[in-house]
């Protein structure tokens, strides 16, 4: 059985602009991923306004390539300076840095590149088969099912971070609330516009996400000023041996499956996939005691999983319009600003675009293997860029990105306020990703709920007659109640043991 949509691959692989942008996205992704503090979500948010100057296929290909390569790029600084360039690479540092300290930085980087690339390719192949299949199922979905699905996606925010399920849900609700600003499409009534005409069209999510991702991080970096970074000098890139590859092949395969599955779940992203990939690599290892001291499986496991999550995350994003991760939410926003509504009908209307994105991701996953291995030495120096010079440049890009969208200074203020608010929220344990998810899904949630209520004649019980919606709402209830139930059981169990 051949890959589906191969006929759409040819225009992608023969268009010099698309190829050039995929290469640019790959290199930029590795660079951004390698810079501590900068993430692929942030870079995509910054690029999004400028991608409007491109056609949808090259624009989204650029963003998708950046997404794939950025996830790998985080491993470079995780291995060399024990500072993950991006959160999904946090688990890579557990064994990658000890390997670098032992003088095996090149081996660790090589394993990371191969595992990341393999995980990414595996997940894109799954994406190629699963997304059209899921889209076919979604054809039968009406507004109640879409509402229930979006609620399920938002409910999964509760499990993004085990420490703050309530805060993640509040963040998601805040995003939904921000999405209500502007004219209500059903009644034409202005909501929360305070007489500002620019707010009638609503708060555009791009300035908000630039603010929440980039300006918040700028302020966080100011808080971290003066912290010393200890790194390992990379003199030469010694590639992993064939024996190394034989040792990690089952870890890579297992983590690829785990990462893809975690990525497919709405809201669950690469960070969780990497943590589970690391734990499973350790659990299945013959030498679990070597983990944390420089085990190559400890690098391969999380790296294959976090890159596999990127393809997995694109499955619900493209097939259902429900983002599989924070970065996928930004890409979903990118599709929306290009006038496209991801979901089953996109497969009929724009198959070239969708398969173009799939093959762009496939190409990016192959490319960064070479870019990562060949440029590891150069990329390792990127972390040496002084933050005092890097962050003003990032701020300038935030400024121009927010302004460039509508050429409106109001958007710049929205970006700044979102950044300041994001910093305050972050200090109190609220992550930006749930707010973005809520904001991106806000329109879908409100419109599908309004349509459902009209269909059901204002009776909430109408959902009881829709089995698919009921399943999603049931899953949503489980995901919301899972964490408090587990915590309550955890609190009760020791007490029972004591009384026993």
């Amino acid at each position: 059985m051949g890959l589906p949509g191969l006929e759409y691959a040819l225009p992608v692989f023969t268009d010099p602009l698309v190829i050039g942008l995929i290469i640019l996205g790959t290199v930029a992704g590795v660079v951004v991923g390698a810079l501590p503090g900068l993430s692929s979500s942030m870079a995509i948010a910054l690029l999004l306004p400028f991608s409007l100057y491109l056609d949808p296929v090259p624009a989204i290909s650029l963003l998708a390539a950046l997404y794939c390569a950025g996830t790998y790029g985080g491993s470079i600084t995780a291995i060399l300076i024990n500072a993950p360039g991006a959160p999904p690479a946090a688990a890579t540092a557990f064994d990658g840095y000890p390997m670098a300290v032992k003088g095996e930085a090149g081996r660790a980087l090589g394993i990371a590149a191969i595992a990341s690339s393999s995980g990414g390719i595996f997940s894109v192949i799954v994406l190629l088969f699963a997304a059209p299949f899921l889209a076919r199922i979604a054809y039968s979905f009406g507004p109640p099912e879409y509402f229930a699905l979006a609620i399920f996606g938002l409910s999964m925010l509760a499990s993004i971070s085990a420490e703050a399920p309530v805060k993640n849900l509040i963040g998601g609700c805040l995003g939904l609330l921000i999405a209500t600003v502007g004219v209500d499409l059903t009644t034409g009534v202005e909501r929360f516009t305070f007489g500002v005409p620019e707010l009638s069209d609503g708060i555009h999510f791009i300035p908000v996400l630039i603010g929440l991702f980039a300006v918040t991080e700028l302020l966080s970096q100011a808080q971290k000023l003066g912290q010393e970074k200890f790194g390992v000098r990379l003199s030469a890139v010694k590639l992993p041996s064939l024996d190394d590859l034989r040792r990690v092949k089952s870890t890579i395969l297992r983590s690829s499956v785990i990462g893809t599955f975690i990525g497919v779940l709405p809201a669950e992203g690469a960070t969780m996939a990497a943590m589970i990939g690391y734990n499973e690599a350790k659990r299945w290892s013959d030498e679990p005691e070597a983990f944390g001291k420089g085990a190559i499986e400890g690098v391969a496991g999380p790296e294959a999983a976090n890159n596999a999550a990127t393809g997995g995350a694109m499955v619900p994003t493209l097939a259902l319009g429900i983002p599989g991760s924070a970065t996928a939410a930004v890409i979903l926003g990118g599709l929306q600003v290009h006038g496209l509504r991801p979901g089953p009908y996109l497969f009929d209307e724009q198959p070239g675009l969708l398969y173009g994105i799939f093959f762009a991701m496939l190409l990016a996953n192959c490319l960064f293997l070479f870019v990562g291995l060949a440029g590891a030495k150069i990329f390792s120096r990127i972390s040496l860029v002084p933050p005092t010079l890097l962050w003003p440049t990032v701020f300038a890009l935030c400024f121009v990105g927010a302004y460039g969208l509508e050429q409106s200074v109001i958007d710049v203020w929205v970006m700044m306020l979102a950044g300041l608010l994001g910093f305050v929220l972050k200090r109190h344990g609220f992550a930006p990703a749930p707010i973005i998810m809520g904001l991106v899904l806000g329109g879908l949630v409100e419109s599908s709920l309004a349509q459902s209520m009209i269909i059901f004649d204002q009776q909430w019980t109408g959902f009881l007659g829709r089995p698919i919606a009921l399943v999603f709402l049931g899953l949503a209830s489980i995901s919301v109640l899972w964490a408090p139930t587990r915590a309550a059981i955890g609190r009760l169990l020791p007490r029972n043991r004591r009384t026993a």
Binding site: I170, Q223, L225, Q407, V412, M416, L420, R427, H428, E446
Partner: protein, 151 residues
């Protein structure tokens, strides 16, 4: 001392009350036009959810002792001020001059004292932004009152 989550929950509850009050100012829409889904329906539903979750946050905080967090450094406050100042200055000095000034102010506030890279950044950043975004992509940046007055 209570855990910070308790206070955050109380603040969120107060915000919910304010936002709910704001929804009372939405114009009334005939039921036929709104198809029985008034413009207040969804925002109030979300506000109610946030209020419930805020109560959960308050109870969550009551069971925990106060978390010790690093104080906000002066550099953060200075950076935030520079960000806000950029928004104010852009109307007066225009985007490119403002970004040039930010390219000096921000690094200096963060302790950078190497004047050569600072100078390169202050000149190079606005120039690059002009060439890429204005000349190539056609974005028209606000010139600012100063440039308007000079021209």
């Amino acid at each position: 001392m209570k855990h910070q989550d308790t206070y955050v929950g109380v603040v969120l509850l107060a915000l919910c009350a304010i936002v709910y009050w704001l929804t009372t100012g939405f114009p009334e829409v005939p039921a036929m036009l709104s198809q029985n889904v008034p413009p207040t329906f969804f925002p109030r539903l979300i506000i109610s959810l946030v209020a419930i979750l805020s109560v959960a946050l308050i109870f969550n905080g009551l069971g925990k002792s106060r978390e010790i967090r690093a104080r906000i450094k002066p550099a953060v406050l200075i950076t935030a001020s520079i960000i806000v100042l950029a928004g104010v200055l852009v109307g007066l000095l225009g985007t490119l001059l403002t970004l040039g000034l930010i390219a000096i102010a921000l690094p200096v506030a963060w302790g950078e004292r190497r004047w050569r890279p600072l100078g390169i950044l202050a000149m190079g950043l606005p120039a690059a932004i002009y060439l890429i975004f204005s000349a190539a992509l056609g974005i028209r940046f606000p010139p600012g009152l100063l440039l308007d007055w000079l021209l």
